[in-house]
Amino acid sequence: MTDTTLAKAPRRKPPSGPADPFDRDDLPAPPGATGALLRSLLAPHRARVVIAALILLVREAALQAGPLLVAYAIDRGVPAFRAGDHGPVVAVAVGYLLCAVLSSVLQYAFVRGAARINQDALLDLRGRIFRHSQLLSVDFHERYTSGRLISRSTTDVESLRELLSEGLQELIGVVLSFVSISLVLLWLDRGIGAVAVASFLPLHLLVRLYRRRAGRVYAERSTAIAAVIVKFAETMNGIRPVRAFRRERANDTEFAALNHRHERSNGDALLEMARYVTGSRLVANTAVAGMCLWGAYRVAAGALELGVLAAAVLYMRRLYDPIDRLGMFLNSYESAAASLGKIAGLLAQEPGVPETTAPRELPHRTGAPGREVVFDSVGFAYRTGGEVLPRFDLTIPAGQTVAVVGATGAGKSTLAKLLARFYDPTEGHIRLDGVDLCDLTTPDLRRGIVMVTQEAFLFSGTVAENIAIGRPDATREEVERAAKAIGAHEFITGLPDGYDTDVRKRGGRISAGQRQLVAFARALLADPAVLILDEATSSLDVPGERAVQRAMDTVLAGRTAVVIAHRLSTVEVADRVLVMESGRIVEDGPPSVLVKGDGHYAGLHQAWRDSLVG
């Protein structure tokens, strides 16, 4: 399943093992996507990676010069010094000094250079995850959950950080020292060198085995930590009901199970590493013993100089120094690969509403700011087959206020979401002043159509910033004017810092009604041609509702408006009412006409009158 728009389709959850990729937290990525993602992250830094590798190469050479200088000092320096020639000893001194300074300077340069590559790649990756997730549909997020996305952009990015910060140095270092030391050994003595090279075969097999096993474990670990995060986030976000319904102990138990699953896979990963370390050390130390034996025989037979053996012996130990580091690299590589796999799966999700490549502009309008909306043979169905809106036509003239009523599940919200282009229709076209919504750029679309929903979420930041989401370049005066128009000014100035009050964690201290007022102020500020209100007044009291109506009459006068409301006081002021039932528009007309009939609307209206002040 790669289509995200079917997210809302009913999901079956068989008791034995979830089959759904969302539940398994295993969105499919095209084959090779993980590697391609890593390559594309590093590609812009190719030059810097090469420079870093060169720095490391020279540094490694400077470090490897140590034993050579020792051999030189013993084989040449000592006899020369005895003969009164101080030259070689001085050369050794100068050489060693140079090597020490060089390797330290290069070390500094490398750490800084590598950090830059690393951090730029991470910045890039975090940005890609964030931008892409913002393009994905609302339904996608409802299924993917914020916890998983947090996991992707924190713990999963973190494992790439580990790979790049330590892994790059380790990989380059490992390759360089294997190659350089093998070459030095071959040059010193072909036999010893051959043993060294031969020992790489069992090491290679070991590495392959480790990678296969660790890959599985790390994928499991990434899923497990994401599940932990989802549970954690859900609890913290619903802390009030958790407390009120004494869910603490039950939650502890559920969390413990998820936490334990992560603990197991974490331990498994560490054990895989333990196995690898033991195996590779065994191979390495056996090879060292073999090389010593071989070399010692050659010296005893007079085929090898003692100094050469001394140097070779020093190099041999160092040949296998990097196998631990190779282990660490493989470890971080497998962990990062598992995480990148998850990220690639996320990035492979197609945005439900793609941005147009051939944008068209809305025609310029003089006079009233409203625009005409046309649903032209529009139908909407989930890909799984559930038809939500059978094909229909609807024209809303510019400036008309249309109320949509009907029972839950009648398709009102779907209609609104199609108009707001949260989804694209499965068939037909929606046109704004003759331009297909699909042909509008996002900024143009949002200048044209804005939707205010029932849940008035506040972002961290000040009240003013939250209102300014409607129009980020708005001045403070404009923000206040919008708040005044909707009747929110009074409560905002009553807050500790007025408009600069930090709403803190999701507006914990601002009541639901006040939040809806802020949401309206946002919409007023955005000043759209078409305004959609999806049950946007549910938490307002009667005066609040009146203020909204007044604002629509004055500030938003002349706009086209689509209002979904349960309260018919909002509906009464509409020019036209659509009654929906099972996805179809069953009644359409001015409220004053419908109320006189004997259809649904008349019934609703009667019920509503009864609910008012007796």
Partner: protein
């Protein structure tokens, strides 16, 4: 922006902070100590190997003794096998215990957070809490896995190495000792500066987590206003700041690493020159010099590693600090007294209840300022008040989600401040303004409201909330998964389930916060009819925004400016109270 972190005190000692991990490490300390001993032994083996090499070169090889060569190689092999096994053994020893330490710390954090006052959660962005439970704990685990052991092991190795070096040749050994003092001083300086930057980085990760979470929770607004570009820009700025901090960290690390590489290397160079001269003078055997330098080079890695080990320890210390910032927060004290027998049917009584948020700035008026109110037993009282008048706050006080600042609340004559919270909350059932469903089945979500309730209660509650119809049409009926990880329901459906949850346990006291706001007129009427039956048997406080909800109640109380301004029936208040009339009809604006 989220809670600003407390900057680390300059005098804070890394060791003291890390020592706070003791209670978590204690259960696994046997394994950890064994692992450290194993690591020390393994490192010593690494130091012994050069000595065997020296013996091999100076003895059998020089003497051309084939038997000796075989023996030497055999020793090397045995030592090598021992080293390999010990390396693996050490990792095996700590693998499970370390994951268990991390898991236990996380479980404790989670448990603690569930029990901290709501006011704490109001102040802390959940992203900051989450980053403490994930990345910070991973840093702690990594510290226990490597730096803790290897600072010790490498310290011992270096010490043993120096003893070996000094015993092999005193003068050359002393030469190698010279860089120790400057290294210690520089490392100390580094550690301090690194700690500050590491803290900043971890806090920035927390902020980033918050932004990601909000971007999902507020996705409809972002999309509705086409703001994903500006959201992405804000995110980019924040992650750019994190990048800057990380680069500052890298700069410090690069510096200390360079110093730690250079100084010992210079000393080794000096020893090499001095040694060569002495070999030439005949004061030193070539074999000794080879062994000496081999030992010195074997110490190169332990010495170099000190730099990043210190850095990792420092990061673990800041992570620990961040962790305990949450763990140290005061849990609400539960002063349970035996109040049995004092209870008599009296309904809910508010006596001079005053409330201000504990973190409210000085001088702001309290949200509630001397509320006196009596909900008679079996009565349903509607609470009406302007937007932001404190209705929701008042309801939160009844189940002690917040504690009243002054005054008291009595349930059937019993002061709730003296009751155990769990008991109190089993008596009082709530439906919140924002209906939150958890990731569980519909049935589980509803039955959360009552212990021991079963299928009949579930059906009855769904019936009261008029939710049975749509629930039965769900793919798996009451077994359908809902909540964040399940099927998403409409606002009205969620609200009805939350209402069912509130009434399922036939609670003695019921607190409903605008329970019908998202329902359409028909459904609202049906729910009201069914709810009346329930309300007859219970004492209820219902926050109401509209006349239709007020109709549920026997009497109405008007909350205005933090006080109860009027109590009476709907009709009485409509006639006598201008503010009430305005709130209910929206007419007569002059009342304000």
């Amino acid at each position: 922006m989220p809670e600003k972190p407390i900057p680390p005190r300059p005098d804070r000692s890394t060791v003291r902070v890390l020592l706070r991990l003791r209670p978590y490490v204690r259960p696994v300390r046997g394994r950890l100590v064994t692992a450290a001993v194993v690591a020390v032994v393994a490192s010593c083996l690494s130091l012994v190997i050069p000595i065997v090499l020296k013996w091999l070169v100076d003895g059998p090889v020089t003497d051309r003794d084939p038997g000796g060569v075989w023996l030497g190689a055999l020793y090397l092999l045995l030592l090598g096998i021992a080293e390999a096994v010990l390396f693996g053994f050490r990792r095996w020893l700590v693998a499970r215990p370390l994951s268990s330490v991390e898991a236990r710390m996380r479980a404790d954090l989670y448990g603690r957070l569930q029990r901290l006052p709501i006011a704490f959660h109001d102040r802390w962005a959940s992203g900051q809490l989450l980053s403490r439970g994930t990345t910070d704990l991973m840093l702690v685990r990594m510290f226990l896995a490597f730096p803790l052991t290897f600072l010790l092991v490498n310290g011992v190795t270096i010490l043993a190495g120096y003893v070996l070096l000094l015993s092999q040749d005193r003068t050359l050994g002393l030469v190698l000792l010279t860089p120790v003092l400057p290294l210690v001083v520089l490392s100390n300086l580094f550690e301090r500066r690194y700690g500050v930057v590491a803290r900043r980085a971890q806090d920035q990760v927390g902020d980033l987590t918050t932004v990601v979470e909000e971007s999902v929770l507020g996705i409809r607004i972002v999309k509705g206003f086409g703001r994903h570009r500006s959201q992405a820009k804000a995110f980019r700025e924040l992650s750019g700041r994190l990048r800057g901090t990380e680069l500052a960290k890298a700069r410090l690390l690069a510096m200390i690493w360079a110093v730690i590489t250079a100084l010992p290397e210079l000393a080794i160079g000096a020893a090499l020159v001095l040694g060569t001269v002495r070999v030439a003078d005949g004061n030193l055997s070539a074999g000794t010099l080879v062994a000496f330098l081999s030992t010195a080079l074997a110490l190169r890695w332990p010495v170099e590693s000190i730099g990043f080990l210190l850095a990792m320890s420092q990061e673990a210390a800041t992570a620990t600090e961040r962790y305990f910032e949450v763990m140290d927060a005061e849990e609400e004290p539960d002063t349970a007294e035996d109040t049995h027998g004092r209870r008599h049917p009296d309904g809910v009584r508010f006596e001079g209840v005053t409330f201000r948020y504990p973190d409210a700035p000085e001088g702001t008026p309290p949200v509630l300022d001397g509320v006196d109110l009596h909900v008679r037993p079996g009565e349903t009282l509607a609470l009406v008040g302007g937007t932001g008048s404190g209705k929701t706050t008042l309801t939160a006080l009844v189940s002690r989600l917040h504690e009243a600042t002054a005054g008291r609340i009595l349930l059937d004559g019993e002061d709730i401040a003296l009751m155990e919270r769990d008991k109190l909350r089993s008596l009082v059932s709530m439906a919140f303004e924002e209906p939150t469903l958890f990731s569980a089945s519909v049935g589980e979500n509803v039955l959360m409201g009552a212990e021991g309730a079963g299928e009949p209660e579930l059906r009855r509650a769904l019936g009261v909330a008029q939710a049975d119809g749509f629930v039965d049409r769900l793919p798996e009926g009451t077994a359908t998964q809902v909540g964040e990880q399940g099927l998403s329901l409409s606002g009205g459906q969620r609200q009805r389930l939350a209402l069912a949850r509130a009434v399922v346990g036939k609670p003695r006291f019921l607190v409903l916060d605008d329970p019908l706001s998202a329902l359409d007129v028909h459904t609202e009427a049906r729910v009201e009819a069914a709810l009346r039956e329930v309300l007859r048997e219970t004492t209820a406080l219902v926050v109401a925004h509209r006349p239709s909800t007020v109709m549920l109640a026997d009497r109405v109380a008007l909350l205005s400016r933090g006080r109860i301004a009027a109590v009476g029936t709907h009709q009485e208040l409509l006639r006598s109270n201008a503010e009430y009339a305005w709130l209910m009809s929206g007419e007569g604006d002059e009342a304000r």
